[in-house]
């Protein structure tokens, strides 16, 4: 939870946005995030994000699911409640495979969805500051983090120079929060 000051620039064209993102990074400003109405291919590369490690997390969740299923079934069918099914051995691995597979998929899928939500700070009931209402309509909105030493006017002029159609300076909560929208106003007043 941190309240920060942002310079916000809105663009109405993808083709203007890409050079703007590049020149912002090139000039050494701290890019907070870019909000777009749809997934823009290549924007992650332009913003300098590295390849996600989500799939490593997925592998770990999957292995957890596999060992949970095999371990749990082994315990049940050999020591907790051994039952003779059609003369098969108590510990009969082929019969465990489908359940192991399902649990692997379930753990990997649910774990990856939750991790994805955490990384992107999205979750039902969770709120985030909206820099511009049109960021889900037809504007590409870029937020730059400012500090106490930044000359605000200089940044806004720079952003206008990159082709922004609308600019503003906002003080807002930079992280997600759980609760009501009107709490946001308390942050803005602070």
């Amino acid at each position: 939870m941190a309240i920060k000051k942002f310079a916000v620039a809105c663009y109405d064209d993808e083709a203007v946005l890409f050079p703007a993102v590049k020149s912002v990074r090139h000039s050494g400003y701290k890019l907070h995030d870019v909000y777009t109405p749809f997934a823009v291919h290549g924007l992650d590369v332009a913003m300098g994000h590295k390849e996600t490690d989500l799939h490593v997390a997925g592998f770990i969740y999957g292995i957890t699911g596999t060992s949970t299923a095999v371990g749990f079934m082994s315990w049940i069918f050999t020591s907790d409640w051994p039952i003779n099914y059609g003369g098969k051995p108590h510990w009969s691995l082929p019969a465990f495979i489908p359940i192991t597979f399902e649990l692997t998929v379930l753990f990997a899928a649910v774990g990856m969805v939750l991790t994805f939500c955490y990384l992107n700070q999205i979750m039902p009931g969770v709120k985030k500051h909206v820099f511009h209402p049109r960021q889900s309509d037809d504007y590409f909105v870029m937020a730059i983090e400012l500090n106490d030493h930044t000359n605000e006017q200089e940044v806004l002029n720079f952003l206008k120079g990159t082709g922004a159609v609308e600019t503003s300076v906002q003080t807002a909560e930079s992280e997600w929060w759980y609760g009501r929208w009107d709490k946001k106003e308390a942050y803005e007043l602070a």
């Binding site: 291919h41 390849e51 592998f59 059609g86 082929p94 019969a95 495979i97 489908p98």
Partner: protein
Amino acid sequence: MNERFEMPARLRNTSLALIAVGILVLIIGGVTLLGGDEYEKTRFWLVLLHNSVFFLLITAVSVFIQAAASLAQGGWIVAYKRVPEAIGANVWLFGLIAIAVLFGVAFGFKIDGHNPIYHWMTPHGDKVLEGKSAFLNPTMFAGFTIVTIALWAFFGRKFRALSIAQESAPKNSTKIYWAMVKWSGGFLLVYALTQMSTTPWMWLMSIDAHWYSTMFSWYTFASAFVSGMSVILLFVVYLKNQGKLEIVGKEHVHDLGKFMFAFSIFWTYVWFAQYMLIWYSNMPEETTYFKMRQHGPYSMIWYAVFIINFIMPILILMARPSKRNYFTVCFMAMVIIFGHWLDFYIITMPGPLKEHWHLSWYEMGIFAGFAGLLIFSVSKTLTKSSLVPHNNPLLKETIIHLS
């Protein structure tokens, strides 16, 4: 220009040497094995059957891959579509060999009035085989074999002809493109009624004529598909190393790697589904198939097949960087082709040969001969046209493709 491929002397000599090894081994095998006892004679025919069917299926799958890609309007394959086309255009060659071998085995091979490989050819009062005679009889066998191979060979050549005709078509014309989509729909129907259902029953499952499995055709299709993808990948990387196929990049190789990975898992799924249902119900007439393979004299190959075709691909090909590394994917492609060849070995051999199996000079020599023929014929076809499918409507899409 870098668009034309000329067969390097080294490739030609290597492939011709492999073919020579194959022919030499065939002659030596004909002299020694055919003069041997019942099992040696059976081994001579069975190894030919195993290899000719295996290579026919992995070449025919290239035709299926083109049909599926063009129906789905897939742009990713267009960058190297000359490779599956060239493999598909040579189906007729492997088809002719397979016809010769299959007819030789079915009609020309008898020991004491009894066919040791296709028992149903000579039921001699066997009630089970007589009950299946509506499907398993010489007329059906001949008909299915000829119709299947003729259709596969025709579509393989047709797809390549259409694709080459597109090069000289008027610019931005999509007439041939849509014609290709229509022919592809037709081929999928043919393929579904042959490879995916009936033909493997005829050629492979009827070796163990008392036994049957409804998963069998899918299982052989999965084997053929993953090996066919591996063959395409080896040709693509070879051409890339020769400085050709400049529009093919890591993204396209990554796609092929994904298919190899995914269909190795699919093969395991089908393989295990077939195994588990039989293991579970535990009916003697079904379990004999696995008794011989898993616990009998073949158990070493049985577990080797599982490790090569499942454990190795899942561990080695899972990570993204390994699918984008040319060495890793080529290594895995060769491992997968060998693994599925072994899988076909264990489909064909146990029924007729029992514990008298060998995996030595004759098996390896015939495999080398077929591999050499595949390399030589496909490379020869590749030299005949431009490697870049000019004027293809999806060419730009394939160049900027991101996997």
